[in-house]
Subunit: 428 residues, 2 copies
């Protein structure tokens, strides 16, 4: 198909008429599909069902260190679970605390602790005036929502193909003591699927923050979520790099099994330096009695070790890959030559990031919704849910079936074309 | 045996010599017993082992409302779990949020929310100067620790046999706007096993707080933890009473299955008014993705309904009752006539509260520890861990076996006698 940008007004109007006809037909199909969140599909969840057979009434529920895991006790996780989460993150189990099902809740807690009690003996953030937080965008809406709740000033950092714009990050972090943190998803970032380059990771580790209590929130949510066994992105270990720069206190790292086992019922972990871990545990001992060790044991015995986890992830990849490829093929086939959009080709993670023409994203999402396909709200990937150019749309291909995915992708490209044609006609 | 108080100095010295001999023998036995926390015993935990058979790889993990509980979704709990927790608390499921394994963490979160964001639109506590919190004592050390962490001023409210001294509670709450909350364990209180009388509950519901953002933390941890089927304490439903006084926003109520199923791996719940629940959920939606619904479903299908829970609690009572009775019999037999101590006779809960002579508790606990029996630290049941009279010791009979319990109780009364004799000789 000819590029929309090369078309005359008359050609565009012709295309528009045809697209409107197609849209009406599509809307009449009564689709009802949800691509709004990065939810695993039913088939993916089925992969883990046999984890429920691991523990039963005859199980010995004693952990390696002799603890009856059914009872109270142990704040930082049973050794079996600590080992697996530490191996996922490639850190020492001593630097890991295994928590409940939602890693987001640990992130919230660490922000809340910093706000109320301060970081490692520093003045609490609440007493330090306006706190600024860097938000590489497009990024993860739930990250931004936490820091927005606390009333921090959210500063958008543009993403490059190698990660956040580090010139800007360094400028803010190294000069402004009000900048206290940055959100990151360093591997297969949400929503672009970008993995931070070695240079970006090294520059993070080499930051010289103006604030003593600055922290990098390194949300490694997709650390083992590769789509292609023979073509994985490689991310440098941030703690290895921080050791070299003497900056080990700079980072809180997070991961979970939410997209490994059951999305709502996995285990999560935070990794940090010795000093940070000691400080987190001190407050955690007052915040809770401890996390669910039966669920931890179920996970540990199911996987046995990191190899078990990795083998499991290949099965997820086998289910996810065709969906990603189907969406990307539809985009390529239908939009490839039109010059009205671009998109990422991630090798892992849960999302494809789509860029429409300026000022079109909101309307594309609205058009899709009208015809029965729910997408993540346009703007959601930016601080305050405001995408300044109104171009970014997060595509989450994991949840629908392959057939539904094909229908949804077709509707989506149709809406993209229709909204873009309208925009071009406006401008003509 | 003759009352110590009636003895001459010479008689006391004679007793002392004999007790010291006995203590040396006991210490040589090399006991290693832990009665420091209210932990269920292994046998109690065994009662729930078949809960692990309820879910397996063939289970349908769809909840009543059609939700795939393995996936993301639902903040306030699956309907099956909400129903059971609501029935335990005798409130509507609409007024319940089912949370993770530790109810303490919900309490912490609500304190933290009030501090940071304020209660129902009121100014955050952090901006209101010195916050005061009422702490009926002896009470639960982990409650007090939360409010101490936030730097609140903890005000000790003496306990009576009917509950907290309500004259004092009313005086503080109804007059001082800095008083923002009170900790309570209204049934089988920790550590005294006191159940608040109807009059006390009604006076709580009729409070007219000077602070609009005052809240009662109604920790109903032992609501179904009766020892005697035919001799249960009855506690009025606080929400029923608050309806009558138009004070429904005044109370946050908590419970958990920590001492019903697995201590470290149960489910918990908070109950509150419509307005409070809506406000809690609003922030909770940013704090977490949701709680572990697989564990919720495991509990719900295991118990089926409130009757299943109650039947289960009878089995716990059968294991706990002999231990309580053995301790109380030892106290009665060995200390009954000595006029050096008193203790409570609870009909439920997890503790017996022991009162030594003034200034003796710390030393009794130290003496026990020296001979291999760890008790809750003396003072722990008071704000700032400071028992002004140094008399209160919390006895937790649940964890040791019956045989260990007998040994521990014997050593304990021996230490009580020895320390009391020394005190009387000092005073003689």
């Amino acid at each position: 198909m000819k590029s929309f940008k090369q078309m005359t007004k008359e050609e565009l109007q012709e295309v528009k008429a045809e697209l409107e006809k197609q849209y009406k037909e599509a809307a009449d199909m009564g689709l009802k599909l949800d691509m709004s969140r990065g939810k695993p599909s039913g088939k993916q969840l089925d992969l883990t069902m046999d984890m429920l057979d691991v523990l039963n009434s005859s199980s010995d529920l004693t952990s390696e260190n002799g603890l009856d895991i059914r009872n109270y006790g142990v704040l930082d996780g049973i050794p079996e679970a600590k080992k697996i989460m530490a191996d996922i993150l490639e850190v020492s189990p001593d630097n890991v605390i295994v928590c409940g099902n939602a890693s987001l809740n640990i992130m919230y807690t660490l922000i809340s602790n910093a706000y109320t009690f301060g970081v490692l003996g520093n003045e609490p953030w609440r007493n330090q005036g306006t706190i600024k937080f860097l938000c590489p965008a497009p990024g993860y809406d739930r990250h931004f929502a936490i820091t927005e709740l606390f009333g921090f000033e959210l500063i958008t950092i543009p993403m490059t193909s190698e990660g956040p714009d580090m010139d800007l990050v360094e400028k803010y972090v190294n000069n402004d003591p009000q900048v206290k943190g940055i959100w990151t998803v360093p591997k297969y970032s949400n929503p672009q699927g970008i993995t931070y380059s070695d240079d970006v990771v090294k520059r993070f580790a080499a930051l010289k923050p103006a604030a003593k209590d600055f922290r990098i929130f390194w949300d490694n949510a997709y650390i083992i979520h590769d789509l292609y066994e023979d073509d994985k992105d490689e991310l440098l270990n941030i703690f290895d790099e921080c050791k070299k720069t003497g900056n080990e206190n700079l980072v809180y790292e997070f991961c979970s099994t939410s997209k490994v086992t059951f999305a709502g019922a996995g285990i999560s972990a935070v990794a940090a330096s010795d000093e940070n871990i000691a400080s987190i545990k001190k407050i955690m001992g007052i915040q809770t009695i401890g996390f669910d060790k039966v669920t931890q044991m179920m996970h540990a015995r199911y996987f046995k070790d990191i190899n078990g986890v990795k083998a499991h992830m290949k099965k997820h990849a086998d289910l996810l890959r065709p969906k990603f490829e189907a969406v990307l093929k539809t985009f390529e086939d239908e939009l490839g030559e039109l010059e009205i959009a671009s998109w990422t080709n991630p090798k892992g993670g849960y999302f494809i990031s789509f860029e429409s023409m300026s000022g079109c994203a909101k309307e594309i999402v609205a058009k899709c919704k009208e015809a029965g396909v729910t997408l993540t709200g346009a703007g959601a990937t930016f601080p305050y849910k405001k995408d300044p150019a109104d171009t970014n749309i997060r595509i989450a291909p994991s949840y629908p079936t392959e057939e539904e995915m094909a229908q949804a992708a077709k509707l989506f490209v149709l809406c993209v074309k229709l909204v873009s044609v309208n925009k071009l006609l406006e401008q003509a």
